[in-house]
């Protein structure tokens, strides 16, 4: 992760390594930050790269 100081109180974080990819985030790491089984289960389930939007003007909502 590339950290870019913007000001004394603000930072920007730019992904710059394989460790920043979602695939590299482990369950153990997430548990270490306080997330429960539900959160980790959905994390594993929805690591999808792309999701196609609804076709044309047929918005399902």
């Amino acid at each position: 992760m590339k950290v870019i100081p913007l000001s004394p109180s603000a930072y920007a974080f730019e992904p710059d390594s394989e460790g920043d990819r979602i695939e590299a985030i482990t369950e153990e790491r997430l548990r270490g930050y306080g997330l429960d089984d539900r959160a980790i289960r959905t994390f594993k389930q929805f690591r999808t790269a792309r999701i196609e939007p609804p076709p044309g003007s047929d918005v399902l909502v």
């Binding site: 992760m1 603000a10 985030i25 930050y33 997330l35 959160a39 994390f43 929805f46 609804p54 909502v61």
Partner: protein, 793 residues
Amino acid sequence: MWEAVKQATVHQKPHLIIVSGDLVDDPIIYNLRLVQGDLNDLAQRAGACVHVIAGNHDVFRSGLNTVVGRSDAFDQVFRDVNATSAAPGTVAVATPVARTTVPQGRGMFRWLRDFLRPYEAAPEPPPPPIAAARPRVRSLICQPDGLPLPVLLALIDSNSNDAKLAFAAGEVLPHELVALETDLGKRATPHLLRIAVIHHHVLPIAFSHGRIIGNEQLMVLTNAADVLALLARHRFDLILHGHKHRSQFVRLDFSPADTEGYPMAVASAGAAALTRERNHTDSCGFNFIEVADNGRITVTSFAYGYGKAPLIDTVQGTRNIDYRIYEEPFAAVARRGYWRARQMHKIWCDSRIYSFEVTENGDLIVDNRLAGLRHAAPVPNVVTCRHVVATPAHGRLAVGPSLDEASLGRQVKLSEGPAIGRRRQFVIAIPGDSLTSEDGGGYLLHHEVANSITLTAWEDAERRRVNPPRDGRPERQEWVSVLVIYPIEMLEIRLRLPSAFEKSQPAIRCERMVSPSDYEIDPEYDTVKVDDDAQPVPDDALTGYTVQGLTWLAAERRWRLKVRRPMVGCRYEIYWPLPATPADPEIRSQTRGWRDTLLALELRLRTGSPSAPAQAAVQVFDELTRDLSTMLSGSGGDQRYAAALFVYDQALLVLRPVLSRRSWADTPVRHDFHIPLGDGLAGAAFQQCRTIAWSNAPDQSALVQPKPYPYEPGEDAEAERAIVAIPVYHDQTLRPPSPWNAIGVVSYSSWGTLSKIPTMGYPTASAFVAAVNGFTQVQFNRLRETVLGHVPP
């Protein structure tokens, strides 16, 4: 042949035609009237103003000053005899007089008799008697009408009648010099071009071969140095002369290293229409002089054979054989331009240094230092300078302008004047007594503009799509510039770019904002007036000259452009290319589709008619909010927090809230809480495709600031302690992340005292930051699947 010369002259479409003498060989009224008529014809055909001066052949028979004295015929034909000072021009219609009969004789005797024959009596009444104490002044200063820029013309008479048997030699008599000096001293209105016309040479002649007929003693003025000194003192740009009928071009610079020096050009041409070679004259020719809008003088010297028709244009000839081009070095153009500006303005300064710093966030920090400000006498008690701060529509003047301590200590005062559209106007008042000190007046002004600089080609395209620029600027460029509005001895522009641009090579662009014919001074600030809607005119020659002053200062990691005596009315710009990431058309199209879908979801939720997937999406977002609170708080969850999913609306160039959750209220954040692209934290995170973490620290910058939270009336309006803005994408695998792939931003605000957000900037927190980013993206993916109805509520 003369007709061909006229045709070639007309083809050049001149504004001004100068004839430097020797129109005739026998200076009688009849001959001069014939020439006058022909020059009138030329003037009418060319639509130009024609000015002539007398050559030695126009006032002395065969051009030799002997015992007969000077003829007044030229003055009677070409000058207003009733005026105390001569008037210019070939304006009257020629009235030929009867030709006198020349007595017949043989050989040398006939020549000598003709030579010593008195001039014929003039049919016009003689000029009024002039008091003996005031010798007649034949030289004159005039300003021709109808020219595209103000031109001062000095027509200098060098045919002295005082020195008998001077033959072809010339002198500008002392009383002529005094009259010229006096008249020039009275010329209050500065002229953008000063041309002196004199018949005799002011410099030695190249290739005279030392022969008697081409003897320089008869060609060069006996007091040439006095004349040159006078013209240099009054900063003449061009000296045109004839006499020897040889083309020659010289640049003079009496003091090139001196700031008071002024470059002059001296040009002569061959005879216009000789049918055969005479007296070792040059081949026939004339000079075509062009003055560009930036003041650059270019002399094209045409040469054609005796009895031959001249070239119509350079395209017909061979350079350096049929014509030669003398183009003024731009350093000389700049020096002359500076002195012209000094003549027109009362104020000038030794230096101006503009320091621009572009931050990683696209903010612009500006320091404007002025030193050595001077004012022509009388110096007023207070001198005011105007400082205009222009911010783009999406930008914000976050800091200042403000003066530094040293300026305040010198009693310099700053106040704000009326705005000019989107531009804020500030007035700096400088005590007059500081201008008379050795260091002159000065100040340092500082200001900062947030969200001012475009950082990517994508952003440039987005802004152009919604607000097309009217100034014709090229795409995919960003720039900083300085407009020079009064004379400056040394201009310096310093530029520091973000790290992403350090490998970019900036370039220079110079543009004229004021044309020479429209140069006006604002009397309040003594600056050149520039219209608000003035269209810049690129000046490639000025750009080519200026770029030499651009250097990279490696130790300071900044670019520096130094310009000595920048041209007033011109804008000096440093620009650089914007990085672009090629867009995958399919991904870009799908990304836009998701933005539209989620914006439509917000509308359905707000109007109270959401579908089951929409309601399920709200629950997913609530879960995401709780999980972020768990991860980002230091105590298992924040007591007070707020989160929102902002989606990019490309029609308005803003981020709009679609889903939100606040710990103290069941209602969402206001739907009209729009965050402009690049502004606040969410706007900056989306534009730069970077997660941004901010904390409400005591030393926080005014540039990187969140938009004020839109509290409802009656709510506790406590400021957030920390905020993180996380971009979410359509395809999170793309590297590098790009705005055309970004759907929006998830923003989480914490009011907790133990929030981990302020620690995200530590190097050891990189894994934590990656986890927060990744978790947010995955939950956003789940939300999208829910919107599609793929995930059961």
